[in-house]
């Protein structure tokens, strides 16, 4: 894998914060959750002895033993299906699907079994399980190893979907997801694994469905999640140099999503851009744009705009992938389009 291995940074005695990589924050969340609750178990392809394809689960086998940390064969349907059965049996399984693209092989277990059991059985049971899976491009991994499919899962009643953008949120949201009684799809952008950020010795919990204002601003709102938050912050910084104050909201969770936080920001800025790495069509941005239009049409000074990947499979070659995926420049351009929109004007598609 082209990623750097997670770096262990010793924490000073009494220090409240330490710089930690995103992948290592997930590792620590898994270890802390397993330490705190014996019913938490971990399984997936190469998560035990090899320590995970992105080294996220390194050291957990040694710490918790082969009964609780297990390598599985390459059997995605059985992995996620077994997680459902194990959750019904009183465990709190955390399973890994190596690339989000491979979730296609586990759709029945997640969509027909996990998502529905609580409701369909009349509330008799819960399905406390987490499926961790990396999404996203940027590694030239090609059409079957780069997709952002989170909107599929957000569309299914019964599933929760979180997409943390930084190490502190990755830690806190994973702890919350593991403690949650419902099935959670925990999406990790591959390019974030080596990202460094502050992580407190005793991190504060973060609730699912609770967004974060990543940057205050009054001229336009950019809603983003996952790795796209960093692009939005860069766009906000470059626009700030021109005197344009962009508010950036990190959704953190897309099912459920923090409608109140988005509406509050829109009522302040009156302009909304939703940016994500997933293809624009039928995506999270479409849902948010529709809801905001329904609830706050009168507040808007411009149409809600969306920024996302072009409607094509994520291509392999560097130039093709770069042009397909959205970046800082696309967000900047969308903010400008929003700010320059005038009533009765037509925005060119």
């Amino acid at each position: 894998m082209p990623l750097q291995p997670p770096m262990y940074i010793p924490r000073h005695q009494g220090a409240r914060m330490a710089e930690t990589r995103y992948g290592m924050a997930i590792n620590r969340a898994l270890a802390d959750a397993m330490q705190a609750d014996a019913s938490v178990i971990l399984f997936g392809e190469d998560v035990a002895a090899p320590g995970g394809p992105f080294a996220v689960t390194r050291g957990l086998l040694a710490k918790f033993g082969p009964e609780r940390v297990r390598d599985t064969p390459i059997s995605e349907a059985a992995i996620v299906g077994a997680a459902v059965g194990a959750a019904l049996g009183g465990l709190k399984p955390v399973v890994e699907i190596m690339f989000m693209d491979f979730m296609t092989l586990a759709m029945d277990a997640l969509v027909n079994q996990a998502a529905k059991a609580h409701f369909m059985f009349g509330g008799q049971c819960s399905v406390p399980m987490v499926v961790r899976t990396p999404h996203g491009g940027g590694l030239n991994a090609g059409p079957q190893h780069s997709q952002c499919l989170e909107a599929w899962f957000a569309h299914v009643p019964g599933l929760k979907v979180v997409v943390p953008s930084n190490p502190a949120d990755a830690y806190a949201l994973l702890r919350t997801a593991i403690a949650d009684p419902d099935p959670v799809v925990f999406v990790e952008n591959k390019t974030l694994y080596s990202l460094k950020g502050e992580l407190a010795d005793a991190p504060q919990p973060v609730a699912i469905g609770c967004a974060r204002v990543a940057q205050d601003g009054s001229d336009a709102t950019v809603v983003a999640y996952g790795a796209t938050v960093a692009s939005a912050l860069k766009a906000a910084a470059s626009l700030a140099a021109e005197g344009i104050a962009v508010e950036v909201i990190d959704l953190r969770s897309i099912q459920p999503w923090d409608e109140c936080a988005v509406l509050a920001s829109v009522s302040k800025t009156r302009r909304l851009i939703v940016a994500h790495e997933a293809v624009t069509a039928f995506g999270v941005g479409a849902e948010i744009a529709a809801r905001v239009s329904e609830l706050a049409f009168g507040e808007l000074a411009a149409p809600v705009l969306r920024v996302g990947a072009d409607f094509m499979p994520i291509p392999f070659a560097r130039s093709l992938e770069r042009d397909c995926l959205p970046g800082e420049a696309d967000i900047t351009a969308a903010v400008r389009r929003s700010l320059s929109w005038k009533p009765n004007a037509r925005i060119k598609p």
Binding site: S39, I41, E67, R68, R70, T72, P73, S75, A77, A78, V80, G81, A82, A83, V84, G85, A86, A87, L88, G89, G90, L91, P93, D108, A109, N112, Q113, A117, H118, F119, M120, F121, G122, G123, Q124, C125, S126, P157, G158, K160, D180, P181, D182, A207, I208, G209, C210, A211, S253, Q255, P256, W257, D258, E259, C260, R291
Partner: protein
């Protein structure tokens, strides 16, 4: 075993088979009268399989079922009133009217649900067996599946994983020869008896119309699974009397096939044995009447049940509502 004990035991198995048979016959009439919405898949003719296997299970053991799951539910001991109320779509149903015939579940007795997806229960049973193993519960899990699920990739994944992890799991195949509307010969190129050993899983074939034979095999196999020997396969040759679903005209099936199916009636097989043991036909009739009375009581209660509460259903998509908008 003492003859009297053997007689008592068979009588008890017979009674549960009668419960399943009469319940499904009653469901068939209710369906025909328009009292049951949706689809209905009956297991009439297959009663000896769930009864023989579940007789060897303990309360904490778990079973995952199929779309043809009434027998599994009743043999595992689900509440009869809740069972009928569910299938009639009532608030008092086991699943509060949200699942129906194809999703009857009662977690209190280890019944992890009928399943609308062919093979869908296999991985649930696999995970349940994993939970038994990790929690050292001493329990076993049974995956009931039909021959139609043999062509599903998930079965092969589950056989492999169960074998690698030596899970306390019994793969209980109800081989009735029909995958929905197609014969097994057009569905599956291998045989379960050879597939098992390919995954180092012992496979046993048993007459699924003889409840005593099923129970005897289940007794051996479940003891092995419970004792740490890993997964086991029990293939039960059985017969589906009805169509894939109620109302299926079964044009794909000839009269000879149906006659064959009826020639091995589990109730007749066991009834004859009981009579040979000295249990008179009148005693069996009395037993049947008592079962029928229980069923009628459950049906009457279900008919008096309430329509499911929409607001309660809408509020129950998640166990724990998180802040924010769901949709």
């Amino acid at each position: 075993m003492q003859p009297e004990l053997k007689q008592q035991e068979l009588l008890s198995l017979y009674e549960t088979m009668v419960l399943i048979r009469r319940s499904e016959e009653r469901l068939s009439r209710l369906f025909g009268d328009g009292e049951i919405p949706g689809f209905l898949h009956l297991s009439i003719g297959q009663e000896a399989v769930p009864v023989g296997i579940c007789a060897e299970l303990q309360a904490a053991d778990t079973v995952a079922s199929t779309h043809r799951g009434h027998g599994h539910a009743l043999a595992k001991g689900v509440d009869l009133r809740g069972f009928f109320a569910e299938i009639l779509g009532r608030e008092e149903g086991l699943c509060r009217g949200r699942g129906g015939s194809i999703h009857v579940a009662d977690l209190r007795v280890g019944m992890l649900g009928a399943n609308g997806i062919v093979g869908g229960g296999l991985s649930l049973a696999l995970g349940s067996a994993l939970a038994h193993q990790v929690r050292r519960s001493g329990g076993v899990s049974v995956a009931f599946f039909g021959d139609g699920a043999m062509a599903e990739g998930l079965l092969h994944e589950c056989l492999n994983l169960a074998s690698l992890w030596k899970l306390p799991l019994v793969f209980a195949c109800e081989n009735n020869g029909w995958s929905e509307f197609s014969p097994l010969s057009k569905q599956f190129a291998a045989r379960l008896g050879t597939l098992g050993p390919a995954f180092s899983i012992p496979a046993e074939l048993v007459d699924g119309s003889d409840v005593e034979a099923v129970r005897a095999a289940a007794c051996r196999i479940i003891a092995l699974a419970r004792g740490g020997d890993g997964p086991q396969i029990l293939e039960c040759k059985t017969f589906r009397w009805r169509g894939h679903y109620e109302g299926d005209p079964q044009k794909y099936r000839d009269a000879g096939d149906l006659a064959d199916a009826r020639s091995r009636d589990p109730l007749v097989v066991s009834g004859a044995k009981l009579e040979a043991m000295g249990i008179g036909a009148d005693r069996l009739r009395a037993l049947e009447r008592a079962v029928e009375a229980r069923i009628e009581e459950a049906v009457a209660a279900a008919r008096l049940g309430r329509e499911p509460e929409y607001a309660a259903a809408a509020a129950d998509v998640y166990t724990q509502a998180s802040g924010g908008a769901h949709g």
